[in-house]
């Protein structure tokens, strides 16, 4: 049995990690969203290539934009009048700095993130002497499930599919909603966290009652 960090230490540590990640890279910290990028690799790679080309072919982009502008707006009057647009004082109120997200990083950066996750788990197991001892790093109920053999593994696989499905339809997982979303007081994330926590408690009570 492994001693986990106490809640009063783990909670602030996770909070500091989440807030620190946002302050450092201006992107919400989540795992399922990163994984989802690799399930649509072709589209994401195209986005990466396009972003790179945006940086490198400014002249061609400008010409295409000019043409698209004429097609879209033609002779439509511009907000504030043509003269106002020509003068174009850049006076629109900008979104608050603390709530604006940075552009999506390239796939390579997210691959490093995922490798870091696996590497962190590996390093922890190595330092604790848990490598090659399946189940030793898990809590008792989880270890008991694994110990059931193929049936337990099947249950874990089913649970994984359900988690993946839920994360996809709700736009985030426990890390994205529970840590980052709640930390930023996003209503959808607060609601999602309440629902999946309540569902988890209900399932645990049901399983204990039946077990």
């Amino acid at each position: 049995m492994t001693a986990f960090w106490p809640f009063w230490l783990l909670g602030p540590a996770l909070g500091a990690l989440t807030v620190g990640h946002w302050l450092a890279v201006r992107r919400p910290l989540g795992v399922s969203g990163v994984l989802a990028r690799f399930t649509r690799l072709r589209e994401e790679a195209a986005v990466d290539r396009g972003n790179a080309q945006l940086q490198s072919s400014a002249a061609a982009l400008e010409a295409a934009l000019e043409q698209a502008t004429a097609e879209m707006f033609g002779s439509l009057p511009r907000p504030g009048g043509a003269a106002a647009s020509q003068a174009a004082p850049d006076d629109a109120p900008a979104a608050p700095e603390g709530r604006t997200a940075a552009p999506l990083p390239p796939l390579s950066a997210h691959l490093v993130f995922l490798l870091g996750l696996a590497g962190g788990g590996f390093l922890t197991a190595l330092l604790r002497g848990q490598l090659g001892r399946p189940g030793v790093a898990l809590d008792a109920a989880f270890a008991a499930t694994v110990a059931r053999g193929p049936l337990g593994l099947l249950a874990l696989a089913g649970g994984g599919v359900l988690v993946g499905f839920g994360a996809a339809v709700s736009g985030g997982c426990s890390a994205g909603h529970g840590l980052t979303g709640c930390g930023r007081l996003m209503p959808g994330s607060l609601l999602a966290t309440v629902v999946f926590c309540a569902a988890g408690v209900a399932c645990a009570l049901l399983l204990r009652g039946g077990g």
């Binding site: 989802a36 290539r49 396009g50 982009l61 295409a64 707006f73 003068a87 979104a95 940075a102 552009p103």
Partner: protein, 63 residues
Amino acid sequence: MACPSLAGCALHPHFTMKSSLRIWKDFFCNTNHQTCLRFQAMQKGESVPPNMLPNGKILEVML
């Protein structure tokens, strides 16, 4: 109110460079970002093609 996703938008900086292109910013980014298809895609967590204009048109020059 300006679009809250400006900092994450690959095209917005290009709309501010030339006065002839600022009409995109006037029409979408500054006043009507809810109708911008780039903003809508970002809100859904979808991939946003960098060469897709706010009206959904794809600029063929890049990809």
